[in-house]
């Protein structure tokens, strides 16, 4: 009986195993399993619309191709959609080290507030500012690769439910990263997103088609199959025209796709412009040394099919220690095989640098970003300022105000260069909690306050038009706070957060100011551009960092605030690297005496050695004589 049962269990076990294996085999898609060839397969493929139907040029209406339907037959779209670029809204995903947030900007209300679905300390969740996926996409879609919340219409309210039907979803735009075509136009994609042409955006940017019209102008009941009513000619409905020459005689299209995303694709969302330096002019700026050496971004920032990009910082939770600076340049000690020297990475000598530096500083502290100056530099980034998109303001004073390099002590205890934002926003305070107010709610009040002095002074209007924030006098802040309190009496104490402070009205309606945790700057580490070794901090000696005026310790970090009288103040770098204000000064002072110390130590060692050697030989002489005497 027992033997019979055992046989049955064994057979059942085998059945489950083979069934499981067959399911797994079915899931692995054609393009996801390599055959060992290093060649990138040529992609001459059929295009599919969002319903999964093959697109033919004579279709009416002709629909944009869906990346999901077109790529999914060979690549596991579901698995890819869990990747780093698409999974921000998944609460189960480890957010990792603080990264660049999205920054909600509104010049009229002087709002610049870090927003992210990732649970980084210091950022606000989009919902807190009324940014449902629809509105989030409207604000930041320009530099998003699709997927994630851009497909998540279910999280939206009824006010925009119909708009998703009109615009479609912005599926993962595979071409945004993997296209090798020179005509891949992400700025064009951003334009389509601004027109709410979500389902058309990827096709319009691909270079094989031209989009027209705007879903934004269409009514809620617009249907892509039926178009607009014949008597309604107010606006051009969204549509697409394929470039017929791109289709072969079988109706297939060639896509120039790269397995490794080209640098140019990464740059669209990951560029930084330093507007304080002479290198602000493009022709005078140097590239990252790794890229100059012929490497690509994705050589280090790798991913597998799951698209979990390696961010490349030490301690990253992805078993990618060998893809950090140390991993390539000095090797991963925990690896049983040598890992240093990847891509020909030179092993640094670090001559004369005591090992404690490697415990207290990240590699990037000395090697990355611009050479630090007495004052931090104002910068722009792609995601914060929409660099590379059409119609952006190119002047220097455009919100948000980011400053860099700021040397911040990280959780790991190491000091690393950061980009930094001073949050500025209106909020309601309830006890210790601060709830930011959507700029849309404050805008009318701010406009009223600004308009009040328009007849005498139009500076603020000019500033707003230039993308700058207005100057807020204490009277203006008081006025807005007072109105907010009267208009929304049940929501908490109206507060203006800026420059590290919280401004509130006291019981006598006087404006008060106190330091606030909500006003503390949000910063995120950066690693690029990496300078050549001969331009790294310390190359001229200890004084690069341990001088009483060295920017690493004593630089001025610009504090951005629209409050009149406090504008563009600064804080010392020591406030960010948490070393206190006295210790770095005393330590730097001690370096004044270092040359003398060296001389003293050298003389002392010479004397001690001379005495020791003299008496050693005296002793030897004595031993030799004694031995000779005994003979």
């Amino acid at each position: 009986m027992l033997r019979k049962n055992f046989t049955i269990y064994l057979l059942l076990g085998f059945s489950v195993f083979f069934w499981g294996t067959s399911i797994r085999a079915q899931k692995a898609k054609l393009g996801d399993v390599g055959d060992g060839s290093r060649t990138t397969p040529v992609h001459v493929i059929d295009l599919y619309d969002e319903e999964g139907a093959v697109i033919r040029l004579d279709d009416r209406p002709v629909l944009p191709f869906s990346t999901k339907q077109t790529c999914n037959p060979c690549h596991d779209y579901g698995k890819i959609s869990s990747g780093r670029h698409f999974n921000a809204s998944d609460p189960t995903v480890d957010p990792g080290r603080t990264g660049e947030p999205w920054i909600l900007v509104d010049p009229i209300t002087a709002t610049q507030i870090p927003v992210s679905q990732r649970n980084w300390p210091g950022v606000y969740q989009p919902q807190q500012l009324g940014l449902t996926p629809w509105y989030f996409l409207q604000h930041f879609g320009r530099q998003m690769p699709g997927g994630g919340i851009a497909e998540n219409d279910s999280a939206d309210g009824p006010d925009v439910a119909m708009r998703w039907w009109v615009s479609g979803k912005y599926e993962i735009n595979c071409l945004a990263c993997h296209s090798g075509a020179a005509e891949q136009d992400q700025a064009g994609c951003a334009l389509q997103l601004a027109r709410q042409n979500y389902r058309w955006a990827a096709a319009a940017a691909s270079g094989i088609a031209t989009a027209h019209g705007s879903a934004k102008a269409m009514p809620d009941n617009y249907d892509i199959y039926y178009g607009v009513a014949p008597d309604d000619s107010r606006d051009v409905p969204p549509g697409i025209e394929y470039h017929t020459a791109r289709f072969n005689n079988k109706g297939k299209v060639f896509f120039d796709l790269k397995r490794e995303a080209p640098n140019n694709r990464c740059y669209f969302c990951h560029s930084t412009k330093d507007i304080s330096q002479s290198t602000a002019e493009k022709g005078r700026a140097d590239e990252d040394v790794h890229l100059q050496a012929g490497m690509q971004c994705v050589d280090c920032h790798r991913n597998g099919l799951d698209h979990q990009m390696t961010r490349g910082y030490e301690g990253e939770n992805n078993n990618a220690a060998t893809l950090t600076c140390k991993g390539c340049h000095t090797g991963d000690k925990n690896n049983d095989k040598p890992t240093n020297g990847r891509f020909g990475a030179p092993r640094p000598k670090h001559a004369g640098i005591p090992p404690v530096h490697f415990e207290r500083l990240s590699c990037t502290a000395c090697h990355s970003g611009p050479w630090p100056d007495k004052n931090t530099h104002q910068i722009k980034t792609s995601r914060a300022h929409g660099l590379g998109t059409q119609g952006i303001k190119k002047t220097a004073d455009v919100m948000p105000y980011l400053t860099s390099p700021v040397f911040v002590k990280e959780k790991s205890g190491k000091i690393a260069p950061h980009k930094l934002l001073w949050p500025t926003f209106w909020a309601f305070t309830n006890g210790d909690s601060i709830a930011p107010i959507s700029p849309e709610r404050v805008k009318p009040l701010a406009l009223w306050a600004i308009a009040a002095d328009t007849l005498t002074d139009s500076t603020n209007y000019a500033r707003i038009n230039a993308g700058n924030w207005p100057e807020f006098t204490p009277q203006k802040i008081s006025g807005i706070l007072d109105t907010l309190g009267k208009k929304f009496p049940d929501e908490g104490v109206p507060t203006f957060i800026s420059g590290g402070f919280a401004y509130q009205l006291d019981t006598t309606n006087q404006l008060t100011k106190k330091e606030s945790p909500a006003g503390q700057p949000y910063s995120w580490a950066f690693a690029h551009d990496v300078r050549p070794a001969s331009q790294s901090l310390g190359v001229r000696g200890c004084s690069d960092c341990h001088d009483s005026g060295s920017p690493l310790y004593f630089g001025n970090v610009t504090v951005s605030t629209p409050v009149t009288g406090e504008k563009m103040g600064s804080k010392k770098m020591t406030a960010f690297n948490r070393l206190g204000s006295v210790y770095p000064r005393v330590f730097a002072f001690s370096f004044l005496f270092r040359p003398w110390l060296k001389i003293l130590l050298l003389l002392s060692v010479l004397i001690l050695s001379a005495v020791f050697i003299l008496y050693f030989f005296k002793g030897l002489d004595f031993v030799i004589k004694t031995m000779a005497h005994k003979e």
């Binding site: 000095t330 670090h350 001559a351 004369g352 090992p355 001690s590 130590l601 004397i607 001690l608």
Partner: protein, 207 residues
């Protein structure tokens, strides 16, 4: 590793010294006598007051103080926190370094001749090694003190050189790490030998 070695090293020496003192009623007197002798040395009591004697006393006191400061600032973070010295302790440590270096160099000049090994020391060690009581014991301890002196002079060379070399752009990360270890271990030996030297000095003053 260094933390464990340091703890073990200090424990062994302390236990040895305590055992040496344990159960002997004359020890309190010996320590008092030793302290008095230190005072005499420092303030030149009983010696002809010359500028050289002043210098000798001054640098003796300076060396003792510097060793105490350096041992405290160097080993307390290692033993208690398991970390390298840093912050204000490091600044204090570095500040005391030149005082010890200069003092040691000058003390080596002052005391080298006094601590040389003589024919009598050699004959004693050869012939009366087993005589461990009375006069013979004192002579033996004096010889051990001389050995300690030369050990202190010998150890101070790598102790200072290691930190001096690390201040020049000669050695890379590996070399720097080696120099730091060398500094740590020679410092440990230096302090241990200094403790033993002090112990012998007390014992000698007892006899």
């Amino acid at each position: 590793m260094f933390r464990i070695v340091s703890i073990i090293g200090f424990l062994i020496v302390l236990v040895w010294i305590i055992r040496g003192f344990a159960g002997r009623s004359e020890n309190t007197l010996a320590i008092k006598r030793w302290l008095r002798r230190q005072k005499q040395t420092v303030f030149n009591r009983g010696e002809e007051i010359t500028s050289l004697n002043y210098l000798r006393s001054f640098f003796y006191l300076l060396a003792v103080l510097a060793v105490l400061v350096l041992a405290f600032t160097g080993f307390v973070p290692v033993i208690i926190l398991g970390k390298h010295p840093s912050g204000f302790l490091l600044i204090l440590h570095v500040t005391a370094v030149p005082f010890l270096a200069v003092s040691l160099a000058l003390l080596s000049l002052f005391y080298a001749q006094r601590n040389r090994f003589s024919q009598a020391d050699l004959s004693f060690w050869g012939g009366h090694e087993k005589e461990k009581t009375g006069r013979g014991n004192t002579t033996r301890i004096i010889i051990l003190k001389k050995i300690c002196f030369w050990l202190l002079i010998g150890l101070s060379i790598p102790l200072i050189s290691s930190i001096l070399l690390s201040m020049f752009t000669i050695y890379g990360t590996g070399g720097q790490s080696f120099l730091l270890h060398l500094h740590g271990y020679t410092a440990l030996l230096f302090v241990i030998v200094a403790m033993i030297y002090a112990y012998f000095s007390i014992i000698v003053s007892k006899d």
